[in-house]
């Protein structure tokens, strides 16, 4: 017999959720949005070396918000999973949906069984081809996975950023337009952001196998001008 006290499960889940939400909303937001040639991932990040947006595989990218050590470990696990799957089967068999599901299961397991939930939210983007659609999956701190049709926002004041982005963008447009809208949505009307404080990655087909590309400050400046 365990000698722990009875805790109302609803209370427990609420407490954990509140704890995780607090951690996640303290950080900055990241937006993933589909544009006419690919998928954009854009976020506020004052560090040029501790990345939040990263390549996972040929057509898959990752973005994480919340505690860096927690989401970076998930990023590494995702790269391992993808490289291993591609090695054992074939590169075409690496699918973002399967990866997003693994993230959801793991994050959900930690939420319900762990001492402390993970204070992270994750976006997994996939650039489509003949085999698979272009997709953005969002995995929340308690393991909820959602398939976002056009764009998704995690971290910071996600709801507010989401609302602002939806105001300017209602359909798929060019990279230039999407970057501009995303930056406006992040800052809101009262704030401006230096290009150096933005982290931007895209998935776009340019003829080579790997489609992820980190955009330099100069390139972002050019897109915003």
């Amino acid at each position: 017999m365990s000698n722990s006290f009875y805790v109302n499960p609803e209370q427990l889940v609420n407490d954990k959720a509140q704890f995780a939400q607090k951690g996640i909303s303290r950080g900055k937001s990241i937006i993933a949005a589909i544009y006419d040639q690919g998928v954009l991932m854009l976020g506020e990040n004052t560090s040029a070396s501790l990345n939040k947006i990263s390549e996972i595989y040929d057509r898959i990218a990752f973005a994480g918000v919340g505690k860096y050590n927690e989401f970076d470990r998930l990023r590494e696990a995702g790269i391992r999973w993808a490289d291993n799957t591609g090695y054992v089967y074939s590169r075409e068999d690496v699918d973002a949906r399967a990866l997003a599901n693994f993230y959801a299961q793991h994050i959900g397991d930690v939420f319900s069984e762990g001492m402390k939930p993970l204070e992270v939210e994750i976006l997994v983007s996939q650039l489509g081809n003949e085999l698979r659609p272009t997709k953005i999956y969002r995995v929340a701190y308690e393991g909820t996975i959602s398939d976002e049709p056009l764009f998704a926002v995690v971290g910071g004041e996600a709801e507010e950023v989401k609302r602002r982005f939806a105001l300017t963008t209602s359909s798929v447009t060019s990279l230039v337009e999407t970057v501009k809208s995303a930056v406006l949505a992040l800052t809101g009307p009262d704030r401006t952001l230096a290009v150096e404080d933005l982290e931007v990655g895209i998935l776009e087909d340019k003829g080579s196998r790997r489609t992820f590309q980190r955009l330099s400050d100069d390139r972002v400046r050019e897109l915003l001008s």
Binding site: S49, E55, E76, I79, D83, N84, G86, Y87
Partner: protein
């Protein structure tokens, strides 16, 4: 398989080979078959712009097992891997090298140095060659963007890694190709001269070594030729390679197969 998560004590880091072993993959297990396909001659020559490489296309297993095998592949943008010995292990080896370099890059957001790549392969070669009769002797060559020069790394059967300042040959045609290279190599070769010398050396190997395939004018299968320069790994198009070997062949046909005391 679920998500491959580790705690900080057991984490294999950005090393994909170590990760594979930690989850029980043994890509280079023991083998006992002795009648399997062998891949032969590959040549690399340094020049003022980087490195050029050429390889024949034949794999043998007491007969011609393949006429169009590829023994040189890009390991990443600036690096090429070449194989000789067991074709099965060699191809496995190229896959693991390609994957490991890319894995490291994605995990750490930085590119492994050329020397780092060369050293990484040593224990894997040693492990394979000491435990299995399926011998593999690869070669790593590339343009080193950190030092702005072409570099060639050769391995012995025990996995020892040696940097070569001039040229290197692996495979059964080595002694014949090496003869031509020793006579023709100069430290100031330009790209075109290096390509021609490498092609001549491969022609020699194809002429003298029964396992090395020469240019196949009947099937239009020609050696693979690549350049590694500041522009990265570039493969020369098949027709252009065929044209080069046809010229060599014509010159040799004129003199009835005799080189006649010069590289021609």
């Amino acid at each position: 398989m679920g998500l491959p998560l580790f705690n900080s004590m057991t984490d294999p880091g950005p090393n994909f080979f170590e990760y594979m072993q930690s989850v029980g993959h043994q890509p280079f297990g023991q083998g006992a078959m002795d009648e399997q396909a062998h891949a032969t001659t590959v040549i690399a020559v340094r020049c003022n712009q980087g490195v050029v490489m050429v390889a024949d296309r034949q794999a043998t297993a007491a007969y011609v097992a393949s006429r169009d095998i590829r023994k040189i592949e890009a390991a990443d943008r600036f690096t090429a891997m070449a194989i000789s010995g067991s074709a099965a292990r060699g191809i496995q080896f190229i896959r693991i090298a390609q994957l490991s370099f890319e894995h490291y890059e994605k995990m750490t957001s930085s590119i492994l140095s050329l020397e780092g790549k060369a050293n990484f392969l040593s224990p894997i070669i040693q492990n394979n060659n000491f435990n299995s009769p399926l011998y593999v002797v690869p070669m790593l060559a590339g343009f080193d963007p950190n030092h702005n020069t072409g570099r060639i790394f050769e391995y012995d059967g025990a996995g020892g890694c040696y940097e070569r300042s001039d040229f290197n040959v692996i495979g059964s045609g080595t002694q014949f190709a090496e003869g031509a290279l020793r006579l023709g190599f100069r430290p100031d070769l330009d790209l075109e001269e290096a390509l021609e010398l490498a092609a001549l050396a491969l022609y020699e190997a194809g002429d003298n070594d029964p396992s090395t395939g020469g240019p196949d004018f009947v099937r239009h299968i020609y050696p693979i030729m690549v350049t590694l320069t500041k522009d990265g790994f570039q493969e020369i198009e098949g027709d252009a390679v065929g044209e080069r070997f046809r010229r060599i062949n014509d010159r040799r046909a004129e003199s009835r197969g005799i080189a006649g005391g010069q590289l021609r």
